[in-house]
Amino acid sequence: MAIALEARDLVKEYPGVTAVDGLSFSVPEGICFGLLGPNGAGKTTTVEIIEGVTRPTSGEVYYYGEIAGAKFREEAGIQFQNTALQDYLTVRETIEMFRSLYDRQANINDIIEQCSLADLLDRDNRKLSGGQRQRLLLAVALVNRPRLIFLDEPTTGLDPQARRNFWDLIKSIRAGGATIVLTTHYMDEAQILCDEIAIMDAGKIVTQGAPADLLYERYGDKLINLAHGEIRRPNLEDLFIDLTGHSLRI
């Protein structure tokens, strides 16, 4: 399987803080790769370095074996954690504007259908609900038929129905053959969507692999005793807490 994305020795230093500390990982083509970590672990900084919007202090990013450059920008789709869109533009105009920035263009009707935006096309961006807005931002990330898609905490702030709807969307995108890099705080989301995860803390990767393999490596066949005599298998949240600790991150 080809390596779609590779980060080599990424370092990002801010005055007094090393946000990303010698990070290296690779993402095979066609998988959903989850980057997990507590607040301030360096997930967003890492993703923004890879996306080319933040300059690293050192390190390189490779896209299909080449330094990420013009080809990467043309073929990558990105959904940021917080993206403001232009005021007074409708959903359709926003999608069309972003689509025009690429040589490689998706069929606009396909995107609208995929992201369930048909009923919202003439609505002003400012009048969208949280879930509708996330679907629009995903549509914007799909306008160039991306081979690689970055989704930075795409379901934060969404209600349970909207989250599940979004998961279905991500699954359908992945089924289309795209490689996905997902950052999330939700362990259930990572467990359901990701083929492989990396857990970050303090700017470094503390573990990486398929969720099931990581759980087996850590816990084997152990079970967890709950109150009232119930037992259950350890999950990603248990692994996450074990590896990153209980202390509150600020």
Partner: protein, 340 residues
Amino acid sequence: MLRRIYAIFRSRNREFIRDRSSLAWNLLLPVALVFGLSFAFDGQRDEYTVGVLQAETQIDTSSHPFLETQYVRFVVYEDLDEALRKVERHQLDLLLDIGPPTRYWINATAPKGYFVEFALLQASSSTPVTAMKEQIEGDPVRYADWMLPGILGMNMMFSCLFGVGYVIVRYRKNGFLKRLRATPLSAFEFITAQVASRMVLIMLITTFVYTGTHMLLDTRMEGSYFTLFLVGLVGAISLVSLGLIVSARVTSEELAGGLLNLINWPMMMLSGVWFSLEGTGDTVQRIAQIFPLTHILNSARAVILDGATLADVAPSLVALTALSAVFLTVGSLIFRWEQY
């Protein structure tokens, strides 16, 4: 490249046009100012102004007793034709050449000229030399004629500086620039689209406001509309470019607003929006030359009031182009997409 520039250009135009309050402000403010001020001042200057024809920049008040007259503003002119044109248009109440021979010119149809002549003759009675009188005629330049380019220039300045500078800072602060950076769009394409959008909008608005006020107030137009349009176009490019410098790195709208006002206010006070800089000190006039608005207003007034040709305003157009080149180069070099 053109497709990307057009996409950003079109979406920025839509954003501006659909922001009704902003559009109305850009259209109504200059119209209201022109009409309000033209009726308030009705074309009259409060003070008496006398031109003194001499080669020296400082007036020697001991050379003639009239030059010690109170409540009269004396302004030095080196060029006789220019000074006579001012008398002809009632912008000077009297022109005095101490000589020898001592001569003066007044406009026979200017009421204020009559009173200033009276003061001159009164002061001259104590001197043995008799001043020779020469009389010229011409219609007055009303305050509205003189002020219209100033108001339009001021509106253009605010629109160009805030419409580009402030908007880009807002885009940077809310993350929209960061989102664009993750696309194939280059900084050059983005800046070109922003400049083009603002240029088209400001030229349409200025043309609309000029045409409306020109027709309703029957303002003077001695020169060519094409030359005037060219002055506006080149001037707007320089003002937009200046706005880009402010927006190139700033991430706070409050700071951007402060910086833009720091540029706006000196330009508004020293470029001749509200009053002529004639008679002010050399230092003030030299400082005024670094402001694009000074060149825009001087050229526009020369075209409108004096019928200046393209060749006449060419030095100002060259100065504006040079300023634009400097502003754009600096702006592009220091431009930053991200907030931090």
